[in-house]
Symmetry: C2
Subunit: 232 residues, 2 copies
Amino acid sequence: MRRLTIWSIPIDREICAGDNLGDLLGATGELADGDVVCVSQKAVSKAEGRVIQSDPEHLDEAFEAALAAETRRVLRVRGTTRIVETHHGFVCANAGIDRSNAPAHALVLLPEDPDRSARRIRDRLRFAWNLHVGVIVTDTFGRAWREGVTDVAIGVAGVRAILDLRGTADWTGATLRVTEVCIADEIAAAANLVATKAAGTPFSVVRGIDPAWLAESSARAIVRDSARDLFR
Amino acid sequence: MRRLTIWSIPIDREICAGDNLGDLLGATGELADGDVVCVSQKAVSKAEGRVIQSDPEHLDEAFEAALAAETRRVLRVRGTTRIVETHHGFVCANAGIDRSNAPAHALVLLPEDPDRSARRIRDRLRFAWNLHVGVIVTDTFGRAWREGVTDVAIGVAGVRAILDLRGTADWTGATLRVTEVCIADEIAAAANLVATKAAGTPFSVVRGIDPAWLAESSARAIVRDSARDLFR
């Protein structure tokens, strides 16, 4: 019987532009082959310099400009919250731009290409540390119809985003028809259970994943094409 | 540093009407105080007799009648899929009525009151087995905007549905503003990572949850009021 173990790796300083997250992770000595590492979007964005500094009196203005630049289209507006589709195709509040938890008077944008961010971390761990792991870049999104936010996958490398069970048999022998499971989102959600907002925990490790799930993939597989989407 | 362990408990026969899931779980000897047990909706519904038998030639008819009875309103229709709001307030495909994985020529409906179902299992484990655990009834739902299904919480007892972090400080000292995390959904998603569709695994155990999260709650806290919902 498969057994998962999940824990977070604290880092005792803020992530800065130019930090190599693969090296930071490798140096912790906590990873082993077959693990999946979840890395928070904020850590990735800071390491990649996706931060806009602003003087306090121009922060709102800077936010509006950044939001417009990051948005492909606006789905809904309520109060100060805009539910938008980003250029990546993610539907989320305020294009994922973060003002809390950020350096003072700064905006943290989503990575330009979170799949590429995940791939870089995975490749660094592979070639510099000889560690073969899957990497998921996670962010915290709201949902339609349900209260509360959950962590989801916005970038994926070396672990399947979606597990296609169509055509396989369930345990009664009946054929499963519509079961494509977004395991990347489920792993991201699981990892958030050990993250501590009050401490700096940009990294979580999920150990015990089915080795068959560790394969090339992309978070683009999770983005539902708007032509197929009933709520966009 | 908190460490979660997650595994599933297989049951070597089908769950039948009248089965006491609390006793089935207690008898496995796998639970300890402070655990959260995830129980699949299908196991709960079968134990509660929420199954409609039909002869094969009338199954479609029976399905349409059941769907109409379980539905409060229809949100979208595409092909044979109806996205509806159930009487509980859940938004899901076909009111959560299942035809796969079910006994031949039968429909499995959602529990009438999944919170009550969770409470019964928790109370049985408490009073007959002296085990103090949280219980989550899980089901597999699709989402807006994202491909793939994930497991979510439809019934909750003895574990918080939503963790309200508003007003607490993040690790930079900034006050978190909108962070209500749906940990019940995150736990349900995590539990699904160890469920094996090809085997009968109605139960998963999550060990290591923050004891402060084990408190009275209800999955009704997850149902967004339609007046507050931007996508309904």
